[in-house]
Amino acid sequence: MKHKLHAILTLLLAFVVQFTFAQEKTVTGTVTDDQGLPLPGVNVIVQGTNNGVQTDFDGKYDISVAAGRKLVFSYVGFATQTVTVGASNVIDIALDVDAAALDEVLVVGYGATSRELSTSAVSTVSSEEIETFVPSTSVDNILQGKAAGVQVTAANGRPGQTAFVQIRGIGSVNAGSTPLYVVDGTPVDQSFINNLNPSDIQSFSVLKDAATVSKYGSRGANGVVVITTKQGRSGEARIVFRSSLGSGSKIDDLNFEMMDAAQKLEYERQLAELGVTDAQSLPGFTANPDQLELLRSYDTDWQQELLRNSYIQSNSLSISGGDEKLSYFLSLGYDKNSGIIDRIDGFERISTRLNTTYQAKDWLEIGANISLARSTTDLPRDRNNVQNPFVAMYSYNPYEPLYSRDAQGDIVREDDGSPVFNPTTQGFPIARALQTEPEDNRNFLILGSLHADIQLSDKFSNRFTVGATSNRYNRTTRSIAGGVLNSIVGNADFPGSQTDNYELDFQYNVNNLFTYADSFDDVHNLSASFLLEYNENIYTDLFASSRGFPSPNIPYQEVAAEATSAGSEEERNILFSQGLFVDYNFDSKYILSGSIRRDGSSRFGPDNKYGYFYSGSAAWNIANEDFMEGSVFGDLKLRASYGTAGNQNIGDFNFLNLLQFNTYNGSTTAIPIGVGNPNIQWESQAILDIGVEYSIFNNRISGVVDYFKKSSQDLLLNRPISQTVGDENNSILSNIGEIQNSGVEVSLNVNVIRNANITWTVGGNAAFLDNEVKELVNGEDIINGTTILREGEEINTFYLPRYAGVNPANGQPLFLDSDGNLTSEYSDSYQTIIDGKSPQADFEGGFFTSIKYKGFGLRGDFVFKKGNYVLNYQKSDGVAISNVNQNLYVEAFNYWKEPGDQNVLPSPLYQANADQTTTRFLESGDYMRLRNLTIDYNIPSGFAERMGIDTFRIFATGQNLLTFTNFTGDPEIGIGSEETIAPEDEGFVAGEFSLYSYPQTKSYTVGFEIGF
């Protein structure tokens, strides 16, 4: 009750202030360049406020503003101008060409500011850069290599799969490292981001330091990605249609080759003769010459049989425009990517959006952004056995054909004449299973927000926003009667089974931002905002399973003989926050900002529900000082920030002891599922950031350098407990850890050539990252399979037995024991921390080069990563002696054969030790990849006009065309194998190991864009 009183008093105080209502009026005008040509898209902002508009296609704008206030006109590549509003209602402006990169509008937490007045480390990605990457089925993939300190790893190559986005390293172990996504002011769950249409996005702002993320309090610790969608501009309706078609394929196996039929049979023979018993029952040893001849003739390329070239299609249409009072942006998008697995459908998305604003009164603007998107995808199983086609294509033997053959080599047929898919030695015909075990997923996402901007006076304004996201997820999984799985685990009396899942994620967010902005003596500019925000997540689900289907063509449980199980669930969590944000600047030279936010969360026990998060930041625009007049610097700014943010991405009710209900022999069971910890509270982060922003030689060269140090404290770690306690997870969640990330981020943009006909720009960004585990439970290691958390070491450093090569005398594999002594014995207890080798890169980023000559453009984007290591289980499988009954890498032939052999694999006679998971399969994951190469051509505007259109562009894009790496296989790994460990599972480490998740693809796309 006490805190409630406090809050109400604060609010009342705010109302006591005497309001003065100045006369607002509408100012209009045209903005041109120094040649008199209209400039569309110029930002016009009332100084010291968040009130701003952009000029339309003809350079025209209108804005409501009180006389005496200042309007700031800014546009990339032009000098910013500030004009005081006088008696006239028309203000025409001609902007001078000047380097002024720092003047762009920055969308930051709860509002916007100009880059000049920002005290924060923010990276932005503009619509222009986004468009280069269209079609990309998930927008988060676009961020890769685009923003310094933002580490993006494609989770895998499945169409529609979201990416792993990490801002400034891993800030948590169990509470997630995914940043908060905010779309038009409304938080959106990361897993729904793939249902946004990239063509609708105006910009990404990635908030990285305390000055901005603190404003998001308990959800800001992992950084915030603010996505702003496009708005209409006043003027005639503008219609843009874009269409592209393309095809993708699996990136060729890098640095290894699979055996062909003859090689594999020969390998089996060699091992059998050596005395490897497993090989002695295989055809390479047992088959007679005729049979061998037949087997060799099959020579199946399983990648060919199970994969295909994908079909990629993307169409989008947008119509936007507006008048003095109304603006609208309407779009429709369609994307299809069939994926590279043959015999299933892939990903498809239809989306639509309407963004509107309306000036209802001179003091009231209302607006609504609504987007609907439906996507469908079939999820092939991502698991480490041949139920996953990407396992099957490597493990099926090349002497086994797609269809079963009889002894004569003739195809075996079903009674109906259709060929029988070969279960192969692996006993599972995946090509058939993909058809008999279909899984179909449908997502329907509604994303909407409504806002009302109330201009109470020239000094007071209020913005009220209600946003909601609602995602309906439906999944249908079936085992068709007579299909592969149904005949193994199904019930013969009830052929066919089906499960339908229905999940509804509903989140709504209500916030109110009350702002006071004022200027004193023309040089003191002050603004203060008071935030109230309420956020609730409601999740419900429902599922039902049945068995006994009359026909595989009726995938509805209505027709099933018997319902087998059903269930429903609900989960909720609530966050309630108050915040105060204050910004001050002196003549745009010295800038100070501060924020404080209080969050209350339902996820913590009665004594720990509330947390406070604060920040303070300052900047000095040196370039604005008189003494800098005439220097080469167009911009030069020093800034620093420090503050805190929190993380609460843990499950609900971890503070309670709970009972779980299930069934046993059809009766209800009640089982204790875990020991709660009433003391858990927020993870907190303290972030320090110091940065320099500069541009020199008329903006020819511009860049940003940031140093940051992020201490993540009170990490929620699972403190392992004795299993004799009988806890379900054998651990208790406790606030015990500390991790520190620090690093330097650099970004640079250079206009190498800039004249009327040709421009050549190169740019890039890189982050140098360092991290260290500072504190764990009682200083004890947390071992997580093959990685370890140990104080003083890098987070998730590999923890493996050390391999020491092959004894040249006898071919025995050698290891180092715990004390570092060479031994031929193997023991799991030889696991040792592998210093400095972890799945985290030390250095990563991206760079681009872009040349424009008249209407032609050529742009290449590269991404790179260095210093990370990957445990290559795929390679381990590919050379494992015990896998002699499946296909292997050609490299497997290179085993020890006679004394003196060096640089060889262990002798197959030492199978048990040789196949162990050791540092032998720990490989450097360094790589550089040509992510994107685009060639385009814009027809000259004169020609376009004659055809009655504004713009016409044709383009061709290639993605992932080149990869440079020494890694065996594809080094770009996010998920190793989703059914082994999924991103939402505890202990998941992105990029830790390779294990047959959907591979990355390369693709070629051609398309056009027409605007009129």
């Binding site: 409630k4 109400i8 309001f19 018993t277 497993d278 002695q280 003091w363 030695t425 006993g427 109330i454 109470l456 005949s487 685990v489 019930n491 013969a492 009396d493 109110n512 009350f514 609730e536 399973s545 018997e562 087998t564 199980s565 669930e569 609900e570 966050l575 309630f576 209350g600 339902s602 529900k609 609900d652 709970l658 009972l659 779980q660 209900f661 299930n662 069934t663 046993y664 059809g666 209800t668 069971t669 009640a670 089982i671 599922i673 020991v675 392992p720 407990i721 004795s722 299993q723 004799t724 306690v725 009988g726 806890d727 054998n730 651990s731 208790i732 290691d781 799991d828 009954n885 048990a912």
Partner: protein, 487 residues
């Protein structure tokens, strides 16, 4: 006026938002219960007891949690000499079959330790709150079931992670497991790091819990639950392992369930009948069709193909007379990759099924008879031992010579035991408790004994691998726990 409205609307919005604190405080779990208040009626206590059984089912039938078919019903056969690895299988559990397990081997080693203690914890939760029920038969029956289940889970732990009293001279004084009893204040501290007790004290507590349960438990609690017969049957096994032979006989005499007849026996394994089944962990194959398919540890069937993981050892299956009803209960001919195998028939599924989903057969009347016969023999009561043995043989064989005595009688008791209980999780313990070596035949995996023989043929008597290692995770979390020698 205009401003007044603006203020009003603004205040309204703010006040709505300010009233949200209660929402945060009032949220409660939606689908979970509160363990402190839930147990307050017979029904809720029975839910709790059924929860304990479900934990036992979990580690007997294996669970997907540890991604292996590592069930307690099947692993003890895979560890011993009744089965042989089929090279055309998926080679699951091979590290167990080859006796190469170490403290952080996944599957059975982590499964049993973790799940059995979860069963113990669930049982203790009930025992600790039992006084919420009024005095009477209902309370006694609940308490009896919980005590018996707790004892049984501890028994499963101690016989696999520690020595068996009759196994060797030092067994009783060697390291046992942690016996967790709510009555002794062993529960409640999640950060407790208990040390291992001795085998002797473990058996004493198991027997004490079971004897107390026998006094309390009801005569019949329905399928899948423990009752009076079950407790005495379990006692007959525990006493046998503990070398209390007279007690074995006494306990066996308390068991009323008859042995399944030759006609009934095949139906026992397809759940057509429960005759002779005293302890089983049951599964409702309709509503629980996604539960662990216990039989998958031995084989998976697709159409005509039987993909066996483990098949019957050639020498063993040929030691069973073809006229013995058990020959065809044990095996059938399974075809995979053009090879024929002595595929395991037990646990293939219910009548007409081959999905491996079937009740777990934990203890049958036949075992009680065999326990009793062996105990009688060891007490020198050969005539009685033979008589008891013949109770079983009469129901299995059309004719037999009989009349064995001395060493031959013991061997017959043991070979009948091996045949009767094969593939049901006994063989490893029966070898272990006598301190013998595991010696596999050198035959191959194919029907006629050709094919690939086992990689490892012998586990010498006294080898440290007769005791599973304590899981590495426990060693890491509990500084007072001592690892078994050899690991």
């Amino acid at each position: 006026m205009k401003n007044y409205i603006k203020f009003l609307s603004l205040s309204f919005i703010s006040l709505v938002l300010f009233s949200c604190d209660d929402e945060i405080n009032d949220l409660e779990p939606f689908t979970e219960g509160n363990p402190e208040t839930f147990f307050n009626s017979e029904a809720s206590f029975q839910n709790g007891v059924d929860g304990v059984y479900s934990q036992l089912f979990n580690y007997y039938a294996s669970t997907t949690e540890y991604n292996a078919e590592a069930g307690y019903q099947t692993i003890p056969d895979i560890l011993a000499d009744n089965v042989i690895l089929a090279t055309t299988g998926r080679r699951s559990n091979e590290v167990y079959y080859d006796w190469q397990y170490v403290p952080n081997t996944g599957g059975a080693i982590s499964l049993y330790w973790s799940e059995a203690y979860e069963a113990v914890n669930a049982a203790n939760l009930i025992i600790g709150q039992i006084n919420n029920l009024p005095e009477g038969d209902v309370k006694d029956n609940i308490l009896g079931q919980a005590l018996a289940a707790r004892a049984f889970a501890h028994f499963d732990l101690v016989r696999i992670y520690a020595k068996i009293p009759t196994q060797s001279e030092d067994a009783n004084s060697s390291l046992g497991v942690v016996y967790v009893k709510v009555e002794d204040g062993d529960t409640g501290d999640p950060y407790a790091e208990p040390a291992r007790e001795t085998v002797e004290s473990n058996y004493a507590e198991i027997i004490s819990d079971l004897e107390r349960a026998a006094e309390l438990i009801g005569a019949s609690n329905g399928e899948g639950r423990l009752d009076r017969d079950a407790v005495y049957a379990i006692l007959s096994r525990v006493y046998l392992y503990n070398g209390d032979y007279q007690n074995v006989i006494d306990a066996a005499n308390e068991v009323s369930e008859p042995i399944a007849t030759a006609e009934e026996l095949p139906g026992v394994y397809t759940d057509a009948t429960n005759t002779g089944v005293i302890v089983e962990w049951s599964v409702n194959t309709s509503s629980e069709s996604t539960f662990s398919n216990i039989g998958v540890a031995y084989s998976q069937t697709t159409g005509e193909t039987v993909r066996s993981e483990y098949v019957a050892d050639y020498e063993f299956i040929n030691s069973v007379d073809t006229s013995d009803v058990r020959h065809d209960v044990l095996t059938y001919v399974g075809v995979n990759s053009g090879n024929q195998y002595n595929a395991v028939k037990k646990f293939l599924g219910e009548e007409g099924q081959n999905n491996g989903l079937v009740d777990v057969k934990v203890l049958r009347a036949a075992e009680v008879v065999l326990n009793k016969s062996e105990a009688q023999y060891r007490l020198g009561m050969e005539t009685e031992a033979l008589e008891t043995l013949n109770e079983l043989r009469d129901k299995r064989l059309d004719s037999y010579e009989g009349g064995e005595a001395g060493e031959e009688l013991l061997n017959t008791i043991l070979s009948q035991r091996r045949i009767e209980l094969a593939f049901e999780g006994h063989r490893f313990f029966d070898i272990k408790r006598m301190g013998d070596a595991i010696v596999r035949s050198n035959n191959g995996d194919i029907l006629d004994g050709s094919g690939t023989p086992p990689q490892e043929l012998t586990l010498p008597a006294g080898n440290f691998r007769f005791q599973f290692p304590i899981p590495q995770a426990e060693i890491n979390a509990n500084s007072n726990i001592e690892q078994n020698p050899g690991y």
